[in-house]
């Protein structure tokens, strides 16, 4: 008797724990898919948006690269496709790229090796592993092997770096150690005179940001459009956005709250 009630009470406890998670509420859901680089920004924006408009709208976010987002939205599988690149002629017709922010990436070296600048060809040659020694790089103050640091596959910054600097056809040498955050890349480059890596704009402390194609990597140059290492983030819709998606995109583009979030790691519009 006692044993049976013990089991029953155990089942009741488990059931109570399982039900503790709130059931999904019925409301408008904006579905999104696409760029892994845009995802962290959009996730932060969506959380804020839901907090400001409780119970009205929900979000469902899937990742998988800009092309996937663009294809998904073109086929009506999602409300919004997230893209971290400009529109291309090969994209399906009838899409609207709603630009929401920019992303800038700096190539960095140790302060012991203040390179005067790198061209795109040089960056490509170094990061793909063709140029292995600093003595082959004009202006280098150190000698010996070039220690490349990259990011783990899941990094949006790595994705952006590849898209902007390597032109998407090349990839970073497979023998480069992959760090899991901007901070760890900064730390590795800072403590290794022979190192080179890439980070987002706000991780430049203690390292040297290398001018790219003759333009210094600063927030001002990025905002003015002179610095080439930037790319736009867009929320792509099929035709002009309508309903809940329109309200969300409008909020992202114009509200102060959204701008504050964008300002944390990205470059706001205009």
């Amino acid at each position: 008797m006692l044993r049976r009630s013990t089991t029953l009470a155990a089942l009741a406890t488990v059931a109570a724990l399982a039900l503790a998670a709130p059931a999904a509420l019925a409301k408008t859901t904006i579905t999104m898919s696409g760029s892994t680089s845009v995802a962290p920004l959009v996730r932060a924006l969506a959380i804020k948006y839901v907090a400001l408009h409780p119970g009205k709208v929900g979000f469902k976010l899937q990742q998988g690269g800009s092309d996937i987002g663009i294809n998904d939205v073109a086929h009506g599988r999602v409300t919004i496709g997230n893209a971290s690149r400009k529109p291309q002629p090969s994209d399906p017709g009838g899409l609207v790229f709603n630009r929401i922010a920019y992303d800038a990436i700096c190539v960095i070296t140790s302060t012991a090796n203040p390179l005067p600048g790198l061209s795109q060809a040089q960056v490509q040659s170094i990061f793909t592993g063709r140029t292995r020694s600093w003595s082959q790089v004009p202006g280098a103050r150190v000698h010996g092997a070039i220690d490349i640091f990259t990011r783990t596959a899941t990094s949006g910054t790595a994705d952006a770096f590849r898209a902007i600097f390597l032109g998407n056809t090349l990839s970073v040498a497979a023998s480069a150690p992959a760090k899991s955050s901007n901070g760890l890349v900064n730390q590795s480059v800072r403590t290794d005179n022979n190192a080179i890596g890439f980070v987002s704009l706000d991780f430049l402390r203690g390292v040297r940001a290398i001018p790219y194609q003759g333009v210094a990597c600063t927030l001002r140059n990025a905002k003015s459009g002179q610095y080439q290492g930037i790319r736009p983030f867009s929320l792509v819709t099929r035709g002009a956005a309508t309903g809940a998606a329109k309200a969300f995109i409008g909020w992202v583009q114009h509200s102060a709250a959204a701008r504050a979030i964008i300002n944390t790691h990205w470059i706001p519009l205009g």
Partner: protein
């Protein structure tokens, strides 16, 4: 005694505080906990299954570059029927075994000798100071060790121990920097040794005094007495300490992610001493480094597969510890 007070004394205890009820609730909580753990194991294995079934037994073998394999899985097409799972995880398993095994192998003799000193040979003042120090060291969060490793030790190793020519030679295959097997093993050893020392010292203290005195009475010197009677008797506890320390080393993620070289690789013993400078990436570290990508389904399932292997290893570890301790216990304390 006034009537009311007496009546209150004699009133039966309230329903919820009756002993049999307490028993019921405690039992229910225990069963619920077991059910939750079982549920978690089932969940992890269900999530992990596509990764195992997509690769078959070759999941456990080596081949190709596991770093690029993981990247390819992460960049799988969004269509579930085209998910990629191809992975040869041997370098990760080997790296786990190597860093854990080496750390335990170094920490074991060191911790036994250290505990012997603390219990038997140290002057009372030093012993009084050492015991709380060891306890404190055993409780230091691993991320602190990781920070010291990456801020101080890794740059030092990179400038003083890494040979430039070796670095250039292997550059196209594997990056050599400060972090690697040497640093990972070193910090792991520092991390797990205090636990083993504390457990060993407790066990040595619990060796019946009469046994040691009996040995001393026969004219055996102190060292021999401690070694042949003390350590011998404490063997089950030493084995328990090894199991606990191995479990901690196995599950260590953050620290290893910081200092092990950030590159999945199987260090090659044929490289001589440079073997120690080559990077590794143990299971738990691989999970934590890649956790950003959990939302990509096939990638998340691959991470769950690592978790499943970790679960099975710790289970086997517990069983091994139990099997080893059983025959030892017949002639030892505890």
């Amino acid at each position: 005694m006034p009537e009311a007070a007496l009546a209150a004394r004699l009133r039966p205890a309230r329903r919820w505080s009756r002993p049999e009820r307490a028993e019921l609730w405690l039992g229910a909580l225990a069963v619920a906990l077991l059910a939750l753990i079982a549920g978690m194991v089932v969940f992890v294995f269900r999530q992990a299954w596509p990764s195992f079934s997509g690769n078959g037994l070759s999941w456990f073998l080596s081949g190709g570059n596991a770093n690029t394999q993981l990247a390819d899985i992460y960049h799988s097409p969004a269509d579930p029927s085209h998910y990629l799972y191809a992975l040869r995880a041997f370098p990760i398993l080997y790296g786990t075994a190597l860093s854990t095994g080496l750390a335990v192998a170094i920490a074991l003799p060191f911790s036994v000798l250290c505990a012997l000193f603390m219990v038997e040979f140290a002057p009372p003042g030093i012993a009084r100071l050492m015991t709380p120090t060891v306890r404190f060291l055993a409780a230091v969060p691993s991320v602190v060790y990781g920070l010291i490793g990456i801020l101080v030790l890794a740059p030092w190793i990179n400038t003083h121990l890494v040979s430039e020519s070796f670095k250039l030679d292997v550059k196209p295959i594997v990056p050599i920097g400060g972090g690697g097997l040497l640093l990972a093993t070193l910090i792991l050893t520092v991390m797990i040794a205090p636990i083993m020392i504390a457990i060993n010292a407790d066990a040595l203290q619990n060796v019946p005094r009469s046994w040691l005195e009996g040995s001393a009475a026969l004219g055996v010197n102190r060292w021999r007495t401690m070694w042949r009677i003390g350590v011998r008797t404490a063997r089950p506890a030493i084995a328990a300490g090894v199991v606990l320390a191995t479990a901690r080393a196995l599950g260590e993620a953050i620290m290893l992610a910081m200092v092990s070289g950030s590159f999945i690789f199987s260090p090659n013993p044929l490289d001589g001493l440079n073997f120690l400078l080559e990077p590794v990436q143990p299971l738990a570290a691989t999970i934590v480094v890649n956790s950003e990508g959990l939302t990509v389904k096939p990638f998340g399932q691959t991470l769950y597969a690592f978790a499943a292997v970790l679960l099975v290893s710790s289970m086997m570890l517990s069983i091994t510890g139990w099997v080893v301790r059983r025959p030892l216990r017949r002639q030892g304390v505890r």
